[in-house]
Symmetry: C3
């Protein structure tokens, strides 16, 4: 994973690259997003994440026990199985549905120059049609009163 | 579909109207949202979408093969079937659940005066209790550094 | 439920406390969020909500018939049952999955000093591993043109 270069000041735009290795895979990107926050020099604001792909997503969930991420992957695979009689003929209709369920954007507050995540929270890129090279767009905006 | 009239400058508020024709139906509204972005005269910012209904939602997903939207509709209908022993007596409890799963808001970055969507992405209004006349609220805010 | 104290002006940060009483429980917090909006003195802007927990979430859905909230709780319990062979050993893997499906953040426009919710909409904290004491972080930002 590497991080794009943006503008520092009151608005910052960057990018996190993710290389996935399995078809369904949650990859933690908290450290990469924190690097973007640091690069932005913004201390109080909002960090927006946007996944420009249609068979992937982004969530905020537990990063302490890696089993949680695997349970999320497996439960989504059970609810929306691959190849279960879909109309879309590319073999990844399930991945589009999973992307719609978890969503392609996320938002985390920035406080004192860091992501204001809860004690057990991390940011995860959600791959549903890997392995692939993926990107997460990052925008960090300073609060108007700063 | 028609588009509401808002304020141009650093903040823009508008509206997209959608007429749906089936009970579960994803309707692409990318072109209408792009019109709001153009009307806003904002070149770098964030476009927020909010659905003021409780049996509908909004997602960003593939707009190339229309089969993808139909697979999303059908999978949600399979996971949360209509009329499957709900407490809510209006016959649309499933639609409220589907709305909670996909969400009633979305966010897309604005760059160079356009929605910064991925190659295959479009914005879709999600009808779960149609046919009805629906609205999507649009707010576009310029980045603070612009 | 009580509300945190923030800064009034063009950006406001506060908090809503929620005490839940059941394992899966949607608790309406619209009135508490409206209090934060009033305390912010912001008339046109965006209200962001963020849940710093990994077994909870936040949604916007119907607040007129309480049966809707119960149908959402029960349908999520049916789709993602508690204790159904998960890897995570704390007994709440289902709660992490449900949190990922509904999401830990929400966004509502602020207009004329109030949440711009639809006729039947309310904001709900979603407990999936209660009963517990929980928090919802609130940030309200004035539109740049205000």
């Amino acid at each position: 994973m590497k991080q794009g270069i943006g503008r520092a000041g009151r608005a910052y735009a960057g990018e996190v690259s993710v290389r996935t290795s399995r078809r369904s895979e949650l990859v933690e990107i908290t450290a990469e997003v924190e690097k973007a926050v640091a690069a932005s020099s913004i201390t109080e604001g909002v960090c927006y994440l946007f996944v420009p792909h249609t068979t992937a997503g982004v969530i905020v969930n537990e990063n302490d026990d890696p089993a949680v991420a695997r349970d999320i992957e497996k439960t989504l695979d059970r609810l929306v199985p691959c190849g279960a009689g879909y109309e879309h003929l590319e073999g990844n209709a399930d991945a589009h549905v999973k992307s719609s369920l978890v969503g392609v954007s996320a938002m985390v507050f920035v406080e004192r120059g860091r992501l204001a995540l809860g004690r057990w929270q991390g940011v995860f890129f959600c791959e549903f049609d890997g392995p692939r090279d993926r990107r997460v767009r990052v925008k960090i905006l300073a609060d108007p009163s700063e």
